[in-house]
């Protein structure tokens, strides 16, 4: 975007350069009643970009459930807000930073975290936790035999993916660690389709007193408009419109200058200063400058407040000289906020920012008449009706077309191994796959314990759990649980069912930590909306999310849509990522995945089948079809096909309610839901986590390669219920199931509760202290191994893959 002079005459060509279509240009002329100048065109182009205007998704997003008795603020503000009791509210939201993270992994990720943190404290809430949902291309070359819908990754692609992974992880760590918010969870997965388009979705959670929540509505004629935070530079111009709203080509790397640069230190000061300034009571409204910077914050605050805003760019703190109005209005420099103060009390606000060493200056005022007026040294350079600009952008009801059916037949589906096969080797292979292996190497780069609220950090429980010190009430603290989940492969195979599973798994994870799911946020990552197949996937996913969120009583409170996730015309898997928040009435009742005591009984809970076994009688071919969508099928056979497991939302709800009840009553010792890798992986992870509880051993991954003394670990003997095949029983991923452990004394209580909720409780084994895992099926041992041997594979594979590959590079 070389054009920066306001004198430049706007032509349809220049409009096109800005990604403004002919129709949209005509609309602009109609709103203004004249030709826009170049600055005005720039302003419209960012506000009407896909990223800011949701023009392709609006019509579908309407179908999402957004109401609930605990919802204080739904979609439309900087973040969703829910009531968590005792006069406290939680603000949370998930947002994508995919495109910047591909063009410049480190800065792309840092600014992704920075942006979502600002969205939270803009509301007046102090951020207390961050989760990151990350998806990358394969980090080691995929076998040529890999029968994936997206092409396997070459060696060079895999090397590039490792560099992207490293940059993104370092970026997230750099920003969150310095800012001082614990990064407590999230997910990391790998599919070839994300090779040139990683997904970086960051979720932030904050809390505040209900009465302290701030909104972004500019009110009060004559009230001063104050700019605070970092100076404005030329970085990030058109980040939203040109980066996030167009697909990638070979030239995309040239867009690196469009990526913003993050400074967590300034953000930390901005956080403390904003919360302190809000306490003065002199702030009327506040909004952060994220996508579309000054443009978005001015016109949105005016539009929401039903007012106008007039600013003079000469007063805007600038990092470099000679910036044009166009550049200043479109800059996406980070760590900036725009706020409206009470006339006559502005000094109270300015003083606080001065104390924290931040720029803060009055740049304009709230006006009547609903106009956004931008001046430069008194001379008007842009004059646009705020409401039409912010709210009356184009809305597209784009064509949908279901893709041609994949005509698969029996031979395309996973061939089950003959009965009695020793599957231990495959099991180890599965434990070593990046999707299943421990993410310790990644999560140890995040500060997970700052603020001393983390009750369950990465991997300790199915959800991340933090306590709320402020909620202390006669010795009892509340806790909040969060989980983010998504399954691109399943959504590719069946967008609606896949999306329903994403919601169900997130809610199940929250419940498995003992918390009651109450609300959701979503990040919708898709290809180009201009492709009817992609819009069909999008529409189907929305239907799935809507149905599931309604059934599980978790309304959507916010989130974002990321389209154009494709490179060279190849779309990513449709990947809706769901974040679900839950309340733990007594934080001390938090459930973790670790088995605790020798002799405890291992029980498979199944919401779908009260007889317990949980395998509906279905034709074997149907089972093979379903199993072909599993992690095991992908890892062991390189087959990605078939259909995701069918989903019963009623069953999911029963299991969730049952888990919450069991946790509240303190009936069970541990809980871990069944998901990627099925029962075998679930049980193994509960054993690995148990090592956390060993005296003098706080970190399971420490011990396996140790020359030190052998430690005694828990083991388990399991007998799996009969089903389609041993592999299906071990590694099948059908939903509404969890594996819990209970002391023999409380087994009866467990059964009673399960019966009450119509959930099957099937005794499948015992926790032992013999250091080994043995799983039997139809009277034969199908998996048998020392726990340390399994642990070594699971705990160290990711690090080995990355470091070994680097050393041989």
């Amino acid at each position: 975007m070389a054009t920066t002079q306001t004198e430049i005459k706007v032509t349809p060509e220049i409009a096109a350069e800005h990604g403004v279509t002919r129709d949209e240009y005509a609309r602009i002329q109609k709103i203004l009643g004249r030709e826009p100048n170049i600055t005005e065109l720039g302003i419209f182009s960012v506000m009407w970009s896909e990223h800011c205007s949701y023009k392709s998704s609006k019509v579908h997003l309407k179908r999402l459930p957004t109401k609930g008795k605990l919802v204080v603020q739904g979609p439309g503000e900087n973040a969703g807000v829910v009531d968590i009791g005792d006069g406290l509210v939680a603000a949370f939201k998930i947002e994508s930073h995919n495109h910047p993270s591909y063009v410049e992994p480190f800065q792309g990720a840092t600014t992704g975290v920075g942006g979502i943190l600002r969205d939270i404290f803009t509301m007046g809430a102090r951020p207390i936790a961050v989760l990151d949902s990350l998806r990358f291309g394969e980090i080691s070359p995929v076998a040529a035999t890999f029968r994936s819908p997206s092409l396997p990754n070459s060696d060079s692609e895999a090397a590039a993916n490792r560099r992207i992974l490293d940059g993104v992880i370092r970026g997230i760590a750099h920003y969150g660690n310095c800012f001082g918010v614990p990064t407590v969870g999230g997910e990391v997965s790998f599919e070839p389709c994300y090779s040139q388009n990683p997904l970086v979705n960051a979720l932030a959670l904050g809390i505040a007193r209900k009465e302290d929540i701030f909104l972004a509505k500019a009110k009060g004629l004559g009230n001063p408009v104050i700019y605070v935070g970092a100076k404005t530079g030329r970085d990030g111009i058109h980040g939203a419109s040109l980066l996030a709203s167009a697909e990638f080509t070979e030239e995309s790397q040239q867009k690196r200058p469009n990526v913003q640069v993050g400074d967590p230190f300034t953000e930390k000061l901005l956080l403390e200063a904003c919360l302190e300034a809000m306490k003065t009571g002199a702030i009327v409204a506040i909004q952060d400058m994220g996508a579309a910077g000054l443009t978005c914050s001015t016109c949105e605050m005016a539009s929401r407040g039903g007012t106008g805003i007039e600013i003079d760019l000469a007063k805007v703190p600038q990092r470099e000289t000679g910036m044009s109005p166009y550049e200043i209005m479109l800059s996406e420099s980070q760590e900036r906020m725009l706020l409206v103060a009470e006339k006559g009390r502005e000094h109270e606000v300015l003083d606080v920012f001065k104390k924290w060493g931040l720029d803060s200056t009055v740049v304009g005022e709230v006006t009547a008449g609903g106009l956004l007026v931008v001046k430069d040294h008194g001379k008007v350079v842009a004059q646009i009706p705020a409401h039409p600009l912010a709210e009356e952008g184009p809305v597209y009801n784009r064509p949908l077309t279901a893709p041609a059916p994949r005509n698969e037949s029996d031979k395309d589906w996973f061939p089950f191994a003959p009965e009695k096969t020793d599957l231990t080797a495959n099991f180890k292979k599965l434990l070593a796959s990046p999707a299943i292996a421990s993410k310790r190497w990644i999560t140890e780069q995040y500060d997970t314990s700052v603020r001393t609220n983390t009750l369950a950090g990465p991997g300790a429980s199915d959800a991340a759990v933090v306590r709320i010190k402020e909620s202390e009430k006669n010795g009892v603290l509340r806790g909040l649980a969060l989980s983010t989940d998504g399954n691109g492969r399943w959504c590719f195979l069946n967008p609606k069912v896949g999306a329903m599973h994403a919601v169900a798994e997130a809610a199940r994870n929250v419940a498995a930590s003992g918390a009651r799911p109450i609300a959701a946020t979503n990040c919708l990552n898709f290809g180009s909306p201009e492709k009817p197949e992609v819009m069909w996937q999008f529409s189907q996913s929305i239907d799935g999310i809507g149905e599931a969120c309604t059934a599980l009583a978790t309304p959507i409170t916010g989130g974002n849509v990321s389209f154009y996730n494709e490179t060279l015309g190849k779309s990513i898997y449709p990947t809706p990522v769901i974040g679900i928040l839950g309340i733990l009435d007594d934080a001390s009742k938090v459930l973790k995945i670790a088995f605790r005591n020798e002799g405890d009984i291992i029980v498979l809970l199944n919401g779908a089948n009260s007889s317990g076994a949980g395998q509906h009688a279905t034709a074997p071919s149907a089972r093979r079809r379903e199993f072909s969508s599993s992690e095991y099928s992908k890892t062991i056979a390189g087959i990605v096909a078939g259909d995701p497991p069918s989903i019963e939302l009623g069953a999911e709800k029963w299991l969730i309610d049952c888990l919450v009840a069991l946790a509240a009553a303190g009936t069970i010792e541990s809980a871990h839901d069944l998901s990627d890798g099925g029962a075998a992986v679930t049980i193994a992870e509960s054993l690995f986590a148990a090592l956390n509880n060993q005296p003098q051993n706080c970190h399971p991954e420490r011990s396996p390669r140790s020359e030190g003394p052998a430690f005694s670990s828990l083991g388990a003997t399991i007998t799996l219920p009969e089903s389609a095949s041993a592999e299906y029983a071990l590694f099948g991923e059908s939903g509404a199931r969890a594996i819990v452990s209970v002391s023999p004394a409380k087994l009866a209580a467990l059964r009673a509760t399960a019966r009450q909720y119509g959930v099957g409780a099937h005794e499948i084994g015992k926790v032992t202290r013999d250091n080994s895992l043995r799983i039997e099926y139809k009277g034969h041992t199908v998996v048998q191994s020392d726990v340390p041997a399994l642990l070594d594979v699971w705990a160290n594979s990711l690090e080995r893959t990355i470091t070994d590959m680097e050393s041989t590079r």
Binding site: N177, C178, P264, F265, Q445, N697, T803
Partner: protein
């Protein structure tokens, strides 16, 4: 008895230290703004963890010039108790109140995990309530915890028993030499960052100023997976009570 927790721009464990002293230990504590030359008559000063001034230039390199540090130095010279945790330790090194310097972790990455340290000496206001050889479990969270100093300084630290805490394996053993020499720490290593002589924390010759990289203030409640941090804070309280008695 009153504790003071200094707040630098970028401090982010200040609230944690405040919570540990004020709410868990239930002792008087207040924040001290970095611009203040007045330590509000505190009897013990804690320099908390975080990224003071973004740790730009070098960890702690800018914070040491904050006005409050002049007062902290005077306070230390007069025998006052000063504890630097993580970034606070780094600031004490930069300020010359403790010998040595920090380098980037040998693995060149930020590390956050629980580690084990062995109490090497109980003759200090920070360890008097501990047992010699006691193994404590603390979280660490830093990029620059690789303690270094010259041979003479190291010899003096050891000779004068100024090494208060040393990283050990989970079962309280030192890493073997072969491991200690590896550039990237093995997974089971006790020493997470390549620190000289497995040093996790030291005190000055006068024993009234101490710094450590692990976070005792994050290990003060069983819900946080360790209460071992209380040993250090209680030691400080003991020392202050003793001092009060002595002067009484």
């Amino acid at each position: 008895m009153k504790f003071g927790v200094v707040v630098f721009p970028g401090s982010n464990c200040d609230h944690d230290a405040f919570h540990a002293v004020g709410h868990v230990l239930e002792k008087p504590v207040e924040f001290i703004w970095h611009q203040s030359e007045d330590l509000h008559n505190c009897d013990a000063i804690i320099l908390p963890g975080g990224f003071s001034y973004g740790d730009y230039l070098r960890t702690g390199a800018i914070a040491r010039f904050s006005p409050v540090m002049n007062s902290v130095a005077k306070f230390a010279k007069s025998g006052g108790l000063v504890l630097g945790i993580c970034n606070g330790f780094q600031i004490l090194l930069e300020a010359g109140l403790l010998p040595g310097a920090m380098m980037r972790n040998s693995g060149l990455r930020f590390i956050c995990r629980h580690v084990h340290v062995r109490v090497e000496d109980t003759n200090s206001p920070f360890t008097n309530s501990a047992q010699k050889g006691q193994i404590l479990k603390f979280p660490i969270a830093h990029s620059d915890g690789n303690y270094n100093c010259d041979e003479a300084t190291l010899a003096a630290l050891e000779k004068n028993h100024q090494v208060l805490f040393r990283y050990t394996t989970a079962d309280g053993k030192d890493d073997d030499v072969a491991q200690a020499l590896l550039p990237v720490r093995p997974i089971n290593a006790g020493n997470p960052n390549g620190s000289m002589n497995n040093i996790a924390g030291i005190c000055n010759r006068e024993r009234n100023v101490a710094g450590l990289m692990p976070h005792p203030e994050r290990a003060v409640e069983s819900a946080l997976n360790s209460e071992d941090g209380l040993v250090i804070l209680r030691s400080m309280v003991e020392a202050l009570v003793g001092a009060a008695k002595a002067t009484a």
